[in-house]
Symmetry: C2
Subunit: 206 residues, 2 copies
DNA sequence: CTTGACGCATTAACAGTGTTAACTACTTTT
DNA sequence: AAAAGTAGTTAACACTGTTAATGCGTCAAG
């Protein structure tokens, strides 16, 4: 069945082409400001063809959303080998923040934009986010067990840590911080903020 | 000139009516999903009339944006009377978070959405945000001077604190946390997160 | 009192949006 | 060779933000 296989491959290729075009345009102009017609034009197909491969615009978004989470997951995975849970936690923070700085539009799409969560609403679960959060809670729990982090509710502590890093990332991605912070600090603002947070975590009285 | 005054009042009334209608619709359906025609219909005017009072949709947004900052500012102002800077800092955090919980859509509009910042871009200044941030830096600076908060760069420390509270608020407003956190903790998640953060700030070794 | 100007609001229109229905080719199966 | 299925198209619908042209009513000046 060489022919059927070739056809399946061509179908998959077009699917990928759509996603590539959509990603490029979403990242360049934002979700709301890129139209189905623009995506179609970029790959020289009719706009309605997109609907043969994706239910609607949100479905394209959701596919990219999952893709981005795979990228972040791939960067977080190697840190599993860091033995000390505190060091692992800090490394995760740095990787996470670095990801947000390197791919602000992807980060936006994953943790800030509203579109993808509508799809998620229906199944009451956000698998991609849940996976990342579980890695965090596991690390926090381990650190607490080893008494390297002040004991407390693991979930709430993890939420606070996630919120802290996300908050700085979100203020940056949505351009709220460079408008209020002295220009000379812009360059390393987020790294400095994270370093300060880490030093706080280290210097926490038990 | 009673007539001229009445006319001016009528003009101002209509302006307010537009803003009221726009606010209600923005908060109910979100910015992108409410159209100029919907706003116009709600006050029984032609859609084009809105353009006699506001340059475009973004201008309406920006007006509401400023309005919301006045509301938050009004809640933050009384805290100036709290003598102890640390207590003042904590109270500010609670007021800020409470505001985000009570008016999630307004908070979204102020600190998350992209629309209003485009207008701000042109003048390179974000006055409303700057005012709030300056109150924060002043308090942080005072707390450091009194050695009640670990010494460090005031701006970066303030940014970290803002980021932490904003992060939790943003995850809530954009519905990223209830999908990964155990249901029984939803109710007080943000308050508990803030309380934990405050306890960390209190228990910081000098 | 009439004329002209001005301000406010309207209708009509433009170019664009996401999405669906109907239709055309072309392949595969019967 | 006829029927069924597949992949892509064009045309259309009901919207969107926004602008141009137009009407209507009130005021000031001649």
């Amino acid at each position: 069945m060489g022919i059927a296989a070739r056809k399946a491959k061509e179908k998959e290729d077009l699917r990928r082409a759509i996603l590539d075009a959509a990603r490029a345009l979403f990242l360049q102009h934002g979700y709301e400001r890129t139209s189905m017609r623009m995506i179609a034009q970029r790959i020289a197909y009719s706009p309605t063809t997109l609907y043969l491969y994706f239910k609607d615009k949100d479905a394209i978004f959701h596919a990219l959303h999952s893709e981005a989470f795979q990228l972040l997951g791939g960067r977080l995975a190697p840190l599993a080998h860091v033995a000390d849970p505190m060091e692992r936690l800090f490394a995760m923070g740095r990787v996470y923040l670095h990801f947000a700085l390197e791919h602000p539009e992807l980060y936006d799409l994953m943790f800030i934009m509203e579109a993808p969560m509508c799809v998620v609403d229906e199944m009451h679960i956000w698998e991609e986010g849940d996976n990342v959060f579980r890695v965090l809670t596991a690390t926090v729990g381990e650190a607490m067990k080893q008494k390297k982090l002040r004991k407390g509710d693991v979930e709430i502590t993890s939420f606070l840590i996630w919120g802290t890093v996300h908050g700085m990332a979100a203020l940056h991605v949505r351009d709220r911080c460079f408008k209020v912070i002295s220009p000379e600090k812009h360059e390393h603002l987020l790294e400095d903020g994270l370093d300060l947070f880490i030093s706080w975590l280290k210097g926490l009285k038990p």
